[in-house]
């Protein structure tokens, strides 16, 4: 018994990570042979300023130019993509002779795919699910209204016959980043379904596509294969294909989960209902049974009560094959689940609500199942739902529809947009979306769609995004919780008081700004732009922070000025995370998440502070200007 428990525990911890498989990028063995434009490298860097099309043009132009110039052009022409030997990164550099697509050895039906992709300026690629349905990869940096041919778009097909045209679907917003930065893509794809005669009964579907944390497609059906597929015949399984004929592209961290329909079954389901004001699951012991019966599915409504009930279900769980299974229990009140008489999920409450999840390894065959639910919370409706999935199957639910109705939020969203003038909004915001909640933050949205968040509490630029401004529903619906959510892919920076007088070059920057050294003074509105200029005092010095979109309205320019000169031992922390100096003098931060370019001439120092790399400038009182490019 004890060994079994131990084994389950061990497997539980191990199997957490083996839900997903990784496409090996140690070598090209996971892919079919190709002309050689695809290779495995250790690291890649791209010069975001060089358009690959200019490179091609300069190649053809150079034939007409003098020899001297030709050599110069070729040197800079080689600059857009540079790479270093090693493994872990899949890189395509095509030319006129080598431009094959890369096709995976595996074939997939339903799949969850996650990867990082990097594109140089002007490049074009695409991921074909089942080799047939293309999700476009493109340098769409700064595009205001993306089309299907921008990154994340579902590409069109080229068939013009009536009924066979597919016009493509644009991503719901442009969540892309600057060339040369890693972008994260998460795709959940469902293959078309066919009946036993081979007739299609449901379309290929992008259940969700998330680019850099922003959902750009949700439950989109693709009725026909898109342009350039390996076959126009729709099928239940096909390989992954990546376009390689239209410019360099790099990938890393490609993980996937092949899914099929689950064959788990629950049978011999019997229930006992108890009535009473139970506050703990143990309170059901010895209680008289009010109702009992058998059913096919779990149904919280068997109690016939809105509240003050307890339900016990018991049954047999049939596992088709030995594997790791994720069991999800959604409930209101309190609940517990036992498999093979062992408690695997429990919340001993009577008034809670939520989802309990665990992963356990189960052998093939039959297992006993026991589920208990109580509720003493009149303000919550009854809710009980059980679903099971494994690393290779879609989830399957074992409850009636109204035992766990899908929770849909029917609140009308309250969206704030910048109009002819910039929009300012103070509110609480969670750093990185789910970390520390900051209390003295302000969001600025420009009419050009370049938005940022400034922490007045520490005089720090903490995040920036392009596109729509914010969702204020969390602060303005009902009592609200005082917070807003940015509506776009936010590039978060770091949390610190970034300007400080440090005793030595190793002293840490203050995590939190405090009086009397630091005093926020608010902001003034710049009449010409309508943007705020932030003011604060630090150790008696008046400091101004001015943040504006750059001339192309794509990224931010940040200027910090001081009321005094001849400051000594003052430092400015510009960025945090692994740094890499780029060819144009800018720094790629945190493994190419964003760039920082110092414009005011100071030389930054990269210092390693307890494992954290910081980009630091010495401050003497002269103005600091830099660009935050993402």
């Amino acid at each position: 018994m004890k060994i079994k428990l131990l084994l389950i525990v061990i497997f539980s911890s191990l199997t957490m990570s083996s839900q997903e498989k990784q496409l090996t990028l140690e070598n090209l063995n996971d892919f079919r042979p190709q002309a050689g434009n695809w290779q495995i490298v250790g690291d890649v860097a791209m010069n975001r300023n060089i358009d690959i099309h200019d490179l091609e043009k300069s190649h053809s132009k150079s034939k007409k130019k003098k020899k001297k110039k030709k050599r110069k052009n070729r040197k800079s022409a080689l600059a857009p993509v540079s790479f270093f030997p090693g493994t872990g990164i899949l890189l395509n550099i095509n030319d006129n002779s080598k431009k094959d697509a890369l096709i995976s050895s595996i074939e997939h039906g339903d799949i969850k795919l996650e990867l990082d992709v990097m594109l140089p300026k002007g490049s074009n690629s695409g991921i074909y699910l089942q080799g047939r349905y293309e999700l476009q990869l493109f340098d769409s940096w700064g595009v205001k209204n993306p089309s299907f041919s921008d990154i994340g778009g579902i590409y069109r097909n080229w068939d013009n016959r009536p009924g066979k045209i597919f016009r493509g679907i644009s991503p719901s917003s442009n969540a892309s980043k600057a060339p040369g930065l890693w972008q994260h893509l998460k795709i959940h794809f469902q293959a078309p379904r066919f009946d036993k005669h081979g007739t299609k009964i449901s379309n290929a579907k992008f259940i969700s596509v998330i680019l850099n944390g922003v959902s750009i497609h949700s439950n989109i059906e693709v009725p026909l294969p898109t342009g350039g597929p390996i076959s126009k015949k729709e099928t239940s399984k096909g390989p992954l294909m990546i376009q390689g004929d239209h410019g360099p592209v790099a990938f890393k961290n490609i993980t996937y989960q092949l899914l099929k329909e689950s064959e788990v079954e629950i049978s011999s389901l019997a229930y006992k209902v108890y009535k009473g004001d139970f506050k703990g699951l143990e309170d059901l012991n010895g209680q008289p049974i009010a109702i009992k019966g058998i059913s096919k599915l779990i149904d919280v409504n068997v109690s016939n009560e809105e509240d003050k009930y307890g339900i016990e279900y018991s049954g047999t769980l049939f596992i088709p094959s030995e594997d790791t299974y994720t069991i999800s229990l959604e409930y209101s009140g309190g609940a517990k689940l036992l498999v093979d008489a062992k408690e695997i999920l429990k919340n001993n409450s009577s008034s809670a609500q939520g989802v309990l999840k665990t992963t356990i390894h189960l052998s093939a065959g039959q297992h006993s199942l026991s589920l208990t639910n109580i509720k003493s919370a009149p303000w919550r409706g009854p809710k009980l739902g059980l679903s099971i999935q494994s690393s290779i199957t879609n989830p399957k639910s074992f409850n009636t529809f109204d035992s766990n109705p899908p929770s849909t939020n029917s609140t009308s969203p309250i969206l704030v947009n910048a109009d002819a003038n910039p929009k300012l909004l103070r509110g609480f915001v969670s750093f990185k979306g789910n970390q520390k909640r900051l209390s003295h933050t302000i969001a600025i949205g420009t009419p050009q769609g370049v938005n940022f968040i400034y922490d007045l509490g520490s005089a720090n630029l903490i995040g920036a995004w392009r596109g729509n401004f914010v969702d204020a529903t969390p602060m303005w619906h009902n009592r609200g919780d005082g917070s807003f959510k940015p509506r776009g892919a936010v590039q978060w920076t770091f949390l610190n008081q970034p300007i400080a007088e440090l005793a030595n070059s190793n002293e840490k920057f203050p995590k939190v700004a405090t009086a009397p050294d630091f005093i926020s003074k608010g902001y003034t509105i710049d009449k010409s732009s309508g943007l705020p200029i932030f003011n604060h005092m630090y150790k008696g010095v008046s400091i101004q922070n001015k943040i504006t979109p750059d001339a192309s309205n794509t990224y931010l320019k940040h200027t910090v000025s001081f009321s005094e000169t001849k400051l000594t031992n003052w430092y400015y922390k510009v960025a945090s995370g692994k740094m890499k100096r780029m060819a144009d003098g800018s720094y790629a931060i945190n493994h190419q998440q964003y760039y920082i370019k110092i414009l005011s001439g100071q030389t930054p120092v990269i210092r390693n502070n307890n494992g954290e790399e910081e980009l630091v400038l010495a401050v003497d009182g002269s103005t600091i200007t830099y660009e935050l490019i993402w």
Partner: protein
């Protein structure tokens, strides 16, 4: 000569008609709107004036700040001379500002996290400097609202700060960061002085006699909402802020340990879970503020209690009528707003033995949303900024901007009530009918007090009927002394003038009841019994209708009470705080409840154990009303069900 006669005739006719009309108005039971008219300020579509702050500016325009962070300046808000009002956005992006002050051309507002000065430096009526005067910490709990500022006589600012609530003990107010649960005094140069604590939800504040006063509402530790005088170092009752009392700048010297050594924290765990403290029914020795004050002298008694459910459920703005008569006969008195009941109450203060106390009356109901902020303009009109978002109110809209104008007519009201060594002296706005005023049966009186405990709110406790000994009416009929031996210090004395009529009329006062908080009984000469009238009309034959009704109540327990008979029960048990017979207010109408076809017993069960999910469209869940005696609950249930027959 002929012309003069003609004019005289016209004048006489005019006066007669006016008097006649006035008479008619008076004869047709007077209503609040006869004396104070509510006018809506039309708001452009898309603007939500969730009135967090209302301020009249010297040039006649009105500044309004909204819960969504905007400050609007409204020109011609009274739509005078037939012109429209115009809205101009002065500032935006503020974090739920809840008050405005004006000084030297700049507007000041308290946002959630700071006191901000909004300066228009180039004269285009748009703020271009948002200066942080002083920022304070926040834990980001939604309930940490900050209210203010009030411009103090020395040109500094007072700001009051709401508490947060616990995670597991979600009902217990707590101060997670300094200075939640405190009142702060902030100077223009950014220095902050902690001023007083004991606050829970200090939504209303104002200067009276150049002294700071504030209102708090019913909640944990507060049996009822009330108005407090807030001198420096006061502790008004909620212990959350005591967490910071040990701070070197704190003028409040009461520590948490000291406090809980005197009073039970009621932090009880059962089966590993905290139990929410509730009112102990038939409590043998309940605590009261005045009792605990003996051990904790800094504990501040409320100056005037606003009995919960009767005079508001969530008291807000404190505003003195300084219009020198433009707003009617109550110049110098204090108006208090209420969010939940969408109305305004009226308070007259006096100082007895150096302490503030006084009387409260109902004043004007019927606002479209919850009354949050008020300010008078130069013409003596009262602007009211309203919101109810998140809580519900008697008025049904989420936001509103209205103004109240005195029509010029004199209402027949109790102008003020003063405490006397042997009772009270009521002063009326118009002379009373001597006979009805001298009839002791014209008065119904009782007194009660609210408990001081960790539970949420308190029922009226130690209720006693007050037996009047006698009455003395002044010769001019404007003052009436009521004398009793049943005065109880610290108790709320609630006296209804059921039968006191206006001289020459059949009307009683527009608002029949006064609520006097008797913190101190004045010294002085008592009236001689020989000066008093002690007649009772009920002792005469023929006037038995009232008695009969009472008899019927006791002999036929099963019969359903009428609307009039049930009113006192609904008021005493504070049902009327949230329910109205016909219309939806904070809670569903009694008629709507009747439609659900519950049995009487089921209604009683629901009174003790409400099921908020039965009414999902209502923002505020009903709290269990365990203090309602079962006998009364059954009577209320029977009455509710009788409404089914009414159309």
């Amino acid at each position: 000569m002929k012309k003069n006669t003609h004019n005289i005739f016209r004048t006489i006719l005019f006066i007669t008609i006016t008097a006649f009309v006035q008479g008619i108005i008076a004869q047709n039971t007077p209503k609040e709107e006869d004396y104070y008219k509510i006018t809506k300020v039309p708001v452009p579509e898309g603007i939500h004036v969730e009135g967090g702050g209302v301020l009249s500016l010297p040039d006649g325009s009105l500044a309004v700040c909204t819960r969504r962070g905007d400050v609007w300046i409204i020109e011609n808000p009274t739509m005078a001379n037939g012109s429209k009002s115009t809205f101009k956005k002065y500032a935006s992006g503020l974090h739920e500002p809840l008050g405005l002050a004006y000084h030297d051309g700049a507007l000041y507002t308290a946002q959630r996290g700071e006191l901000t000065k909004l300066i228009d430096s180039d004269g285009d009526r748009i703020a271009d400097i948002y200066q942080t005067i002083y920022a304070w910490p926040l834990s980001t709990h939604y309930h940490e609202y900050s209210f203010g500022p009030v411009l103090a006589p020395d040109n500094s600012f007072f700001v009051t700060a709401n508490v947060a609530f616990g995670k597991e003990q979600w009902y217990r107010g707590e101060s997670r960061v300094p200075w939640r649960g405190w009142t702060m005094k902030i100077s223009e140069d950014g220095k902050m002085e902690p001023w007083a604590t004991g606050m829970r939800s200090p939504a209303g504040y104002g200067l009276i006699d150049d002294e700071l006063f504030y209102t708090d509402n019913q909640g944990d530790w507060f049996g009822s909402g009330a108005l407090w005088h807030l001198p420096k170092g006061a502790f008004t009752g909620h212990p959350a802020g005591l967490k910071w009392a040990k701070h070197k700048n704190s003028p409040v010297k009461v520590t948490e340990e000291q406090f809980y050594s005197q009073i039970d924290k009621r932090e009880v765990k059962k089966n590993g879970r905290f139990i929410k403290p509730s009112n102990i029914i038939n409590e043998k020795n309940p605590d009261f503020v005045y009792k605990i004050k003996e051990a904790i002298p800094q504990l501040q008694l409320p100056a005037v209690v606003l009995p919960h459910g009767i005079l508001g459920v969530s008291n807000s703005e404190v505003k003195v009528d300084d219009t020198a008569g433009k707003f009617g006969p109550f110049s110098g008195q204090v108006l208090i707003g209420d969010m939940g009941q969408s109305k305004i109450m009226r308070i007259a203060l006096e100082k007895i033995k150096g302490q503030y106390q006084g009387v409260a009356f109902d004043f004007r109901s019927g606002f479209q949303s919850g009354v949050m902020r008020m300010d008078f303009n130069n013409d003596g009109k009262l602007f009211v900024g309203e919101t109810n978002r998140g809580w519900g109110s008697a008025g049904n809209t989420n936001s509103g901007l209205e103004f109240l104008t005195w029509t010029g007519r004199m209402p027949f009201e109790m102008k003020t009530v003063k405490a006397m060594p042997d009772g009270f002296e009521i002063e009326f706005t118009q002379p009373v009918d001597k006979a009805s005023a001298e009839d002791l049966d014209s008065y119904k009186a009782k007194s009660y007090i609210y408990k001081y405990h960790a539970a949420y709110g308190s029922p009226q406790t130690n209720i006693e009927n007050i037996k009047l000994k006698g009455v003395k009416v002044s010769d001019d009929g404007l003052k009436v002394r009521i004398v009793t031996d049943n005065l109880r210090q610290y108790y709320v004395h609630e006296i209804t003038l059921e039968g006191v009529l206006l001289k020459g009329s059949k009307n009683t006062t527009l608002h029949p009841t006064f609520y006097y908080t008797l913190n101190n009984i004045p010294d002085g000469a008592k009236l001689n019994i020989s000066e008093l009238s002690t007649t009772r009309s009920s002792s005469k034959k023929g006037k038995t209708t009232k008695r009969k009704a009472i008899k019927r109540k006791t002999t036929k327990a099963a019969s359903v009470l009428t609307d009039t008979q049930i009113q006192p029960l609904l008021a005493k048990n504070t049902c009327i705080a949230c329910h109205n017979k016909d219309k939806r207010v904070v809670g569903p109408a009694f008629k709507a409840i009747a439609k659900r076809n519950y049995s009487n017993q089921k209604i009683v069960d629901l009174i003790y154990n409400p099921q908020p999910k039965n009414w999902p469209e209502y923002a505020t869940p009903m709290a269990p009303m365990s203090h309602v005696p079962k006998v009364e609950a059954l009577k209320i249930a029977a009455w509710i069900n009788s409404l089914k027959k009414q159309e």
